[in-house]
């Protein structure tokens, strides 16, 4: 076990706790950069998929894991990101501007949507955002002039100052683009957590009353969380549009919203690692299932709904037995080894709260 001997207050909020941690993440980054040379095009595509889901997951994690606001509507923001990027490209805006702008547009719209949603909390917020997600489908069809409606839009080749990235023929270049975005988003997220704003997010999540007592402006904090969360999700959506090669009204359905939420719960709510772990599960579950079907000799039989059935069962098991998700399990295992043989069973016992009605205040 490493002991951090703190000599300054800044020690608490350093980006990396110590040199070993820094080296570990540096090694991970080197590995990620070297990945195209290590694996084939198919698995590189899968890795890209993982990173795109992780970016979208980071967005939702900031809102749900960090600020405690459940959103079932993030597919709408994925769609908004994808469409605003494509429409801007269509109007002749270069990718280098349209891509960040797509994130900003999504963030601004998210903030605007958050204003009425601020009055809602818990279940009501979940239902309201779910309605937004359902409406997004209809709105895309209605605004056919810009979005192409049911026919959809086809992302053109990305062009950054003459450097071309084509998703199908140059998967390695597309991978680097996604990796770069993922690293930037992760850094933004990590730095946000160290800032007063990030602390305010956590305070709002843990108790709105105590947060207000500490001088946190609840409404403004929630709005900022919505905005930043939607902006990151919008970037993820733009990339997802490129990855799927075609975007129409059925690309981002309510099911994607639910999948995104389930993903961050499986990964571990409230941690950056959780978004990435969850993305692994989402991206590799279809492959894993087809391999598993091969074992039973039923690989040719298509079972509709199997993927979501299994995903649901995994989630039920996680919520029951490991509410902290994959990352929580990882932390517990690591601490068990670090403390060996002094780790105790009750070290991670969760505080239970008894329910009181929200209808009587």
């Amino acid at each position: 076990m490493r002991i951090h001997f703190k000599t300054t207050y800044n020690h608490d909020i350093r980006l990396f706790a110590d040199r070993t941690t820094f080296l570990k993440y540096a090694a991970l980054l080197v590995f990620a950069v070297a990945l195209p040379f290590l694996i084939g095009d198919f698995y590189l595509g899968e890795a890209t998929n993982v990173l795109i889901w992780a970016i979208a997951g980071l967005g939702l994690m900031l809102l749900t894991g960090q600020t405690g606001q459940v959103s079932l509507g993030h597919a709408a923001f994925l769609a908004l990101g994808a469409y605003s990027n494509l429409i801007l490209l269509d109007k002749g805006v270069p990718f280098i501007i349209s891509f960040p702008l797509a994130g900003i547009i999504t963030g601004v719209v998210g903030t605007i949507i958050a204003i009425p949603a601020l009055r809602l909390h818990g279940i009501y917020l979940a239902i309201a955002t779910m309605a937004i997600s359902i409406l997004a489908d209809d709105i895309i069809v209605l605004t056919e002039r810009w979005t192409g409606g049911v026919v959809g839009m086809f992302p053109p080749t990305i062009d950054i100052f003459g450097f071309e990235i084509e998703r199908w023929t140059q998967p390695d270049r597309f991978y680097y683009l996604v990796l770069f975005t993922a690293v930037v988003c992760t850094l933004i997220y990590r730095n946000l957590l160290r800032s007063p704003l990030g602390r305010a997010f956590a305070a709002v999540r843990d108790s709105e009353v105590s947060a207000a007592a500490m001088g946190v402006h609840i409404a403004r904090t929630k709005m900022t969380a919505f905005g930043i969360s939607c902006a990151i999700t919008g970037l993820g959506g733009a990339l997802m549009g490129y990855y799927s090669g075609m975007v129409n009204n059925e690309t981002f359905t309510i099911v994607i919203s639910i999948q995104l939420l389930m993903m961050i719960v499986i990964g571990g709510l409230g941690s950056i690692h959780g978004a990435f772990f969850g993305a692994f599960v989402v991206a590799f579950l279809p492959q894993g299932l087809s391999i598993a079907k091969g074992w039973f000799g039923t690989s040719s039989v298509a079972i509709p709904g199997l993927e979501f059935g299994v995903f649901g069962m995994i989630l039920v098991l996680f919520i029951l037995f490991e509410p902290d998700g994959i990352y929580g399990r990882w932390v517990k295992t690591r601490i068990w080894f670090e403390l060996f043989p002094f780790a105790r069973k009750d070290m991670f016992k969760r505080q239970k709260s008894y329910l009181k009605t929200e209808r009587l205040r």
Binding site: R119, L120, D138, L142, P304, G312, I319
Partner: protein, 291 residues
């Protein structure tokens, strides 16, 4: 006349939404959490009834099959509570929300495995015949749905208001700890309410399947029922019914008078408007505590 016809068909649809919304409200009233799988409960109950009744499966008489389906769903609800939901005791509402969404997927998957994905119709004696009242032609199924829904809502309302168990449920949701101190077996009460909502879901499913075909994705109807429950004010049983009726009536009128493409948005737009302007619904249950 066309107006009346649209109105009545809307009422019948709305009653089904209201019935599913009743399931939400029951669980919300007693446990302060929302069962996002209620629509899938409804679908599963419908399939059990269909499996027992239809001649290509078991071929039992409808009036034996329907109570059996209700009992089976009650048992399922109880078992789900005992094995899964009860373990969430003392954890946040959000966790229960996510858990029930996941359960919904699992239920949908099993329904697909058992009964396939083709839409099927329940061979129900409710579905035959028409009634003509004052020039308006009503399907027998529509009339039955409206009557059964009204009766069920009324009896559940009386149950919560006047019986010991109903009051115990309300107490358990208002303050779990205090309810414990008063000698209410909170966990058992919670199990009972899940069973009850399973039974209500089965009734909704049987009525819904008598009206039209069902398939494993019929549970998505639950989303409209959310709108119903929210509009009525989560936690109010008559509110759930009224909300369901409002949604049900708005739909055919929107389809008739709004331009194509806008009509299916109507229930959700209404839901958002209610959430923004009256976040606690038309029949608000929120009261301020006075010291």
């Amino acid at each position: 006349m066309e107006f009346l016809q649209l109105f009545v068909s809307g009422l019948a649809n709305g009653s089904v939404y209201g019935l599913i919304a009743l399931g939400f409200v029951l669980i919300y009233k007693a446990t302060e959490s929302v069962n996002f799988a209620q629509g899938d409960f409804m679908m599963f109950g419908a399939f059990i009834a269909l499996w027992l009744t239809n001649t290509e499966y078991m071929g039992l008489p409808f009036w034996i099959a329907a109570p059996m389906a209700m009992a089976a769903m009650g048992l399922l609800g109880y078992l789900l509570d005992v094995t899964i939901i009860r373990r969430m005791f003392g954890q946040s509402q959000t966790a229960v929300v996510i858990l029930t969404i996941a359960l919904g997927f699992v239920i949908r998957f099993f329904a697909g495995v058992f009964w396939g994905h083709e839409p099927q119709t329940l061979q129900s004696p409710l579905a035959v015949g028409d009634v003509t009242i004052g020039g308006v032609v009503l399907g027998m199924a529509d009339v039955t749905i409206i009557v059964v829904t009204a009766l069920l809502t009324f009896s559940l309302f009386q149950f919560f208001k006047h019986t010991k168990l109903g009051l115990a449920m309300q107490a358990a949701s208002q303050n779990q700890m205090a309810a414990y101190y008063m000698g209410i077996p909170v966990k058992r009460v919670q199990g009972f309410i899940w069973a009850l909502s399973g039974v209500v879901a089965a009734v909704a499913g049987i009525l819904f399947a008598s009206k039209g075909a069902i398939d494993p994705n019929a549970g998505m109807l639950g989303i409209k029922a959310f709108a119903a429950a929210v509009i009525g004010g989560f936690g109010s049983l008559p509110g759930a019914l009224v909300g369901g009726l409002i949604i049900g009536v708005i739909e055919p009128f929107a389809a008739r008078y709004l331009p194509a493409g806008y009509s299916q948005m109507a229930p959700y737009v209404l839901l958002l408007l209610v959430l923004v302007f009256r976040p606690h619904g038309l029949f608000s249950q929120v009261r301020t505590k006075k010291v």
